[in-house]
């Protein structure tokens, strides 16, 4: 494996007779912004679960950089730089935003087993957490308890937690799910502003956002990768239009000129 940040080969998974991943092959070069699209039930979230180790594949291999991580536990993968966010907020409701991010920073720096020193002694960890929040315009919300934050800020906190682990590869499962359209643009602007050291793959249904923020697009249907290409290639592919965009364009067609 050469320059790929993440590679998946021959990945298979079935639940009984339902095939959710069928011989999936992926290779994501360093620094590229990928969108993963496909109709509901195409296996997009399942693929993220397989890649991050939350589900065990029936067969296939997963490589992070040069290393085979197929047998690693989810937290080991995170420590090696493969990190995800969740479609449905999965946060720490009674921790403040700052505490949540500081926790992730402490875990990354391997000080979270230290019980004999108080958190105040870890000022560089707190500073780093504060910087991450600032970069996502969350600094003012830092000392508020997570469950009291507005929904849009909670979505940003999902990303802040992921960034605190210093990912090499970041998998975002519908980062803007449930966020109003105008706010979701801001959210994607934040994602677009991430360092080019991070390879990003995001699941998104809004084609405007996909075409604006992705440099490449992967189309999944029925657990298979149908196609991979630039947004322009994807938009003009008749197969894609038939299975996926066709429907979307029809819907959009009523609003806008085709």
């Amino acid at each position: 494996m050469s320059e790929n940040a993440l590679a998946v080969s021959g990945l298979n998974k079935r639940f009984g007779s339902l095939v959710v991943a069928s011989n999936v092959e992926l290779s994501l070069p360093q620094g590229v912004r990928y969108a993963l699209i496909g109709p509901n039930g195409a296996g997009k979230t399942t693929l993220i679960n397989l890649i991050t180790g939350m589900l065990r594949p029936d067969s296939g291999r997963i490589f992070l950089g040069d290393g085979d991580i197929t047998i690693f536990s989810p937290d080991e993968r995170v420590r090696r730089g493969l990190v995800r966010t969740f479609q449905i907020n999965s946060l720490f409701p009674h921790l403040t935003a700052l505490e949540s991010v500081a926790l992730a920073v402490c875990e990354r720096r391997r000080v979270a087993e230290t019980w004999w020193r108080e958190l105040t002694a870890y000022s560089s960890e707190i500073d780093e957490a504060h910087e991450i929040l600032s970069a996502l315009s969350l600094a003012a919300a830092g000392n508020r308890v997570t469950r009291e934050l507005p929904y849009g800020q909670q979505r940003l906190l999902e990303i802040a937690l992921a960034l605190a682990t210093r990912p090499k590869v970041l998998l975002l499962d519908e980062p803007a799910a449930g966020v109003p359209r105008d706010e979701s643009k801001d959210l994607f602007a934040a994602i677009a502003g991430l360092s080019r050291d991070i390879t990003v793959l995001f699941i998104e249904h809004d084609m405007d956002l996909v075409f604006r923020f992705a440099s490449r697009v992967i189309v999944m249907v029925g657990g298979r990768v149908l196609l991979e290409g630039t947004p322009a290639e994807i938009a003009s592919d008749p197969q894609v239009r038939a299975v996926y965009l066709g429907k979307a364009r029809q819907d959009l067609g009523q609003v806008r000129a085709p």
Partner: protein
Amino acid sequence: MTTQAVADPHEFVRAQIRWRWSEVVFWLATLLPFVLAPNYLVLASQIAITALFAMSLDLILGYAGIVSLGHAAYFGIGSYTAGLMSAHGWGEPLTGLAAAAVTAGISGYLTSFIIARFRHLALIMITLGIGLVLVEAANSASWLTGGFDGLQGIHTWPILGKFHFDLYGYTAYSYALIALFAIFLLARRLIHSPFGLALRGIRENGARMPAIGAPTREHIRTIYTIAAIIAGVAGALLAQTTETVSLESLGFQRSADVLVMLILGGTGRLYGGLIGAIVYMVARDQFSGLNPQYWYFWIGLLLIAVVMTLPNGILGGLSLLAARIGKRS
């Protein structure tokens, strides 16, 4: 809770760790029995020991969300360790505590590998099982433990060769209180450490922890071992101050009682176990004075009343009250 955003994150973290006046008052009040109730120092020492035991349960239940119905196992192991040492001719109390910490810690560490794999109902069953297995093992090993009759011949030497254990419990309460306070200070440090934050993370959303790279099972094994050590020390204190050890020290009743105390007081606050132990033990003393046969009736009633009206225990209710008063002023 401040409503405006505090600019400095360090100040916010510091403010959470700072000692509160209520804490200072609480610890000063633990000295009152010496003056106000010198006839109750024996009871006071047992309350302090039970409070220590309840605090150890709070570390796993209140902070890491590990429900245990067998926590007395480690208390009992500590009791028997200190008791056996004394019965075999070494009644020096401080080394007894240390030995109890070691045996309970090793037992806790070994069982933590099972504990860390499970959650919720399965955990209740497993901890219950560990407790039951241990009681029967201690019962059948009567050559060592004295079985059903309890361990005979315990004699605790004076502390540091100076302070003799007296009938009034003066030394016993001082000893138990110092141990409680010293271990409390360590526990307080623990809950405000990065590790304490990780434990709260496990309690708040254990499923999310691996996704931020947290080795959750490692954390659980560590806190379970620490809690077992503290429970073991509490057990040793009881063995040394009462000079008796029986099967009851590791039985189901003790595990259930300590859980009740903690829930009464309020989980996840460190002081909940302490307050719960005081309320429960004083109530038991009073109720059993009123009616030696049916005192559990009143305990049951108290439990129902507290849980129905104060879902987060006595301390939860108090902090709600304090917040309301704070808002009004």
